[in-house]
Amino acid sequence: MPYTITVNGSRHEIDLPGDVPLLWVLRDQLGLTGTKYGCGVGACGACTVHLGGEAVRACQLALEDVDGPVTTIEGLGTPAAPAPIQQEWIRHQVAQCGYCQSGQIMQAAALLAENPAPDDAAIDAAMAGNLCRCGTYSRIRAAIHAAARRANGG
């Protein structure tokens, strides 16, 4: 029996075994390749998406356990109309290879939704699970602070 999930506002019937991780449903069945595979074991954060507004690792979430609406990087904004946090990412020229950045942005967006003015310690705590092999951490931090200032009318 197929599973029904809602991704970026659209409902999809997915005919796959229930233990397939959401990551691979998004990437291979729905063609939403913005969400990345880095480790498959919850250690890198490249696969981060929102489930009911919370940041989760899509590689650790089985299809059968998807119990709320999913938002991926594609649902956040587009090149023509980037979300405010994406605009700050672009303004701070954060990405290098870029492979980790979907996950970084989704994690940061969830942080800001919960804590509109995170200090460095809060950023460290929220972002420590998202590794970047290119070492873009300084600019990630700057972009998060800037996005927070902007949301707070600064």
Partner: protein
């Protein structure tokens, strides 16, 4: 031989042009345009191999080098745009197809048998270099931090030639002399103010002989260079719309994975009984030396691949870490392969030191390392009904990848199209062709079906071409505040030889410069200075890892210089200056700068230690100061200061990013990085056991860019992607010594120090 001779001659022309500076500014250059591999199709015109102009005025710059995070496409585009006169917003980039036009002339220069900072008898030495170098057969390579060195003149010439050719087309159409026309923002403008857009001229211009005699603009007129340009890949990478290899999606595509021998040998037999009936599995392919599972979903392919029972052949090298290390150490007692630095008589002075000299000896050991690119290895391929093979591969060497795919499948290279996608990190790993070839082989087993071959992270870690382990024995003498002798012996497997053997079946004899880069070529004046390279011949696969030999030699040299400084009772930064100042002024200026940034003269903050290191690699000197501090959770790397001198700084924001990136890559390896072996297979499989620095334990970083290292012509540039890495580990080790009094002589540091994790 004909092909080799041709490459050599061309490489010489470009190397001398780009490096010697004759062509750099305001000089007429008669430009030989290589055959144009581009077939842009209706409504688009390729004026030369580097740019396509569409009717609507959109300009696509075709980059000969691969974008793997280092910003190469943006700066290569800026070089073209600087001469072409187009708005930045009108520009996009694509990767060039495998083609002769895109060879990397500067990569030959890496083998030059002289020290980069020693720039006197230029041309003779470059000529030597091209003759000396083992010949690379496929030179379309992104590596050695050479993209800008190679492209600095070439890309501007491409832009200038296109601009002049567009003017010629406009002159014909308007019936006025070309000299009366000017260009601005994608338009040719006549004296009477009439303007023709490039889009309307491009197709006519492409039919003309490209203008070859052009004058390049002087830096004073630059608008896109020496300033931070918005990266052309940024919006796509921040919205999940950039296509990496892993993201290639084709109609009817299947998802596959491979399992090859983790002990890097062949396969005896396999039993796919359990895997065959598993959900989603469509086919199990016997590759002879491993298996592939083709499925309807990547994860289902991963799961089924694990369920295949495989009996592997044993490795052709010692299977355990201890035995491998013993072979490397044993190479130190065998005859040396090279003695590329030999000044004074270190052996004699060390035997009978002068009165009052203090002797220092140390042995250092470094481990194997994985690249661990964020995007695991993968490629996609499709053998269509006509027998044509199309490959999509995130790679650093497309000609090589295509030719090796041809070799492995028996399909002629002319029947193979290879597209280079974005690379989710490269760091040298993607200069190899193995993942491209595997995808081609899997596709060849299922004609008509496009198939994406994705490796699991575990497969990626097990099948790396590792940074080799290395051992160094160092001896030195200090007298007063000066080093009077330094002898270094370095042993490690040779990356150059192994790689050349893989590429061409021939390992070049003679001294291996890459093996001692970072230790035989540093700008220190020491009266008796001797560096020997000893090669350990071990079949365990090794490869180019960001900064290559510099990654271990920088640690050896700069740790030992620190030990000498302490033996001399000198300040480590002042001690370095004493030896660097007489040898290379721009490098000394960098050290002074980094000292200033770090407040080196002032007292340390309580509970902290500081370390300094300096390396000169890929044409670019870099000085770093690292501060560490005690904290309740362990030692923190609190701050890092970087001063870099790339000569002309083509894009300061990208240079800053690369410096931070190189530093963190080096620090991650220094703190955590270690691949060990059991039964010939890597024991580390994924990030939990191959950890890297994260946002909470990475230092705050400050970067300063100087432009003193511009050479006599004032137009010299150095590399940027790698030079930030080599000084990181020794600067950290030196800081830990300053903090704890314990001298780190092996890596990773987490074995001997308690870090905040």
């Amino acid at each position: 031989m004909g092909r080799l001779a041709k490459y050599t001659r061309r490489a010489f022309l470009i190397t001398s042009a780009a490096v010697a500076g004759g062509v750099a500014f305001g000089v007429y250059e008669s430009w030989r345009v290589p055959p144009n591999p581009l077939r842009p199709g209706e409504g688009r015109a390729a004026l030369n191999p580097w740019l396509i102009i569409a009717r609507d005025g959109a300009v696509t710059i075709v980059t000969p080098r691969a974008e793997m995070g280092q910003g190469t496409q943006t700066t290569l585009a800026a070089l073209v745009a600087e001469e072409l006169d187009v708005a930045w917003e009108a520009i996009a980039t694509i990767h060039g197809p495998p083609a002769e036009a895109y060879y990397n002339g500067a990569i030959m220069g890496l083998g030059q048998p002289f020290r980069d900072y020693d720039i006197r008898p230029w041309r003779e030495k470059i000529r030597e270099a091209t003759d000396f170098l083992p010949k690379m057969l496929s030179l379309q390579v992104t590596g050695g931090s050479t993209s800008m060195i190679d492209g600095f003149a070439k890309m501007r010439l491409a832009g200038a030639s296109a601009r002049e050719t567009l003017k010629l087309a406009a002159a014909k159409r308007l019936g006025v002399p070309a000299e009366t026309l000017r260009t601005e923002a994608g338009r040719v403008i006549a004296p009477d103010g009439q303007a023709l857009t490039y889009g309307t001229l491009a197709e006519e211009a492409a039919k003309l002989d490209p203008v070859r005699d052009v004058v390049l603009r002087p830096p004073a007129q630059w608008r896109y260079l020496r300033r931070p340009m918005p990266r052309l890949d940024m919006a796509a990478k921040c919205t999940g719309t950039a296509t990496f290899g892993a993201d290639v999606t084709l109609p009817g595509m299947k998802f596959a994975t491979v399992r090859m021998n983790p002990a890097r040998a062949g396969m005896k037999s396999f039993d796919a009984g359990a895997a065959e009936g598993m959900a989603g599995v469509e086919k199990i392919v016997d590759l002879g030396d491993g298996i592939a599972v083709i499925a309807s979903n990547t994860w289902l392919a991963f799961r089924a691949a694990e369920a295949v029972e495989i009996e592997w052949e044993p490795p052709a090298y010692p299977g355990e870490t201890d035995a491998l290390e013993a072979e490397i150490a044993a190479a130190l007692d065998a005859p040396a392969n090279s003695h590329l630095r030999d000044e004074g008589n270190a052996a004699r002075v060390l035997e009978s030191p002068p009165e009052g000299a203090v002797a220092v000896e140390a042995e250092y050991r470094l481990p194997w390392l994985a690249h661990a690119c964020m995007e695991p290895m993968n490629a996609t391929a499709h053998l269509d009904d006509t027998g044509h093979l199309t490959i999509w591969s995130p790679n650093q060497a497309p000609v090589l990848a295509r030719d090796k795919a041809a070799e492995a499948t028996g399909i002629s290279a002319d029947d193979i199209t290879l597209h280079t996608t974005f690379l989710g990190g490269g760091f040298g790993r993607r200069a190899e062709y193995d993942f491209t070839v595997l995808a081609a082989r899997v596709a060849a087993a299922v004609p008509g079906v496009p198939v994406k071959v994705m490796w699991s992270r575990e497969e990626d870690m097990a099948h790396d071409f590792y940074r080799p382990a290395a051992v160094a024995r160092m001896r030195g003498l200090v007298q007063g505040e000066k080093a009077i002798a330094l002898e270094a012996r370095v042993a490690a497997p040779s990356v150059t030889r192994q790689s050349m053997q893989r590429i061409s079946g021939f390992a070049p004899p003679g001294p291996d410069k890459g093996h001692v880069e970072g230790i035989a070529d540093q700008p220190y004046a020491i009266a008796n200075y001797s560096v020997y390279g000893h090669l350990a011949d071990i079949a365990l696969p090794v490869g180019f890892w960001r900064s290559v030999g510099n990654s271990f030699n920088g640690f050896f040299h700069e740790s030992f210089i620190d030990e000498l400084a302490h033996a001399a009772g000198a300040d480590p930064l002042a001690f370095r200056l004493v030896h660097i100042r007489p040898e290379h002024a721009p490098s000394a200026q960098l050290l002074e700068k980094v000292g200033e940034m770090a407040g080196w003269e002032a007292a340390k903050r309580p509970g902290t230690g500081r370390g300094v290191a300096f390396t000169y690699s890929f044409g670019t000197p870099v000085a770093q100061v690292i501060e560490v501090g005690e904290s309740p959770g362990g030692i923190r790397i609190t701050r890092a200061f970087i001063a870099v001198d790339p000569g002309i700084a083509l894009d300061p924001a990208i240079i800053e990013a690369q410096m931070e990136s190189g530093l963190l890559f080096g620090l991650s390896a220094a703190v955590f990085g270690e691949i060990t072996f059991a039964g010939g297979a890597a024991e580390q499989a994924n990030f939990p056991d191959y950890e890297v620095l994260r946002i909470h334990n990475a230092p705050k970083i400050a970067v300063a860019i100087l432009e003193n290292n511009r050479g006599p012509g004032g137009s010299r540039i150095g590399g940027i992607g790698e030079p930030g890495t080599p000084p990181a580990a020794p600067a950290l080790a030196n800081a830990l010594f300053d903090l704890t009094g314990k001298r780190p002589r092996r890596l990773p540091l987490m074995r001997d120090f308690d870090f905040f994790l």
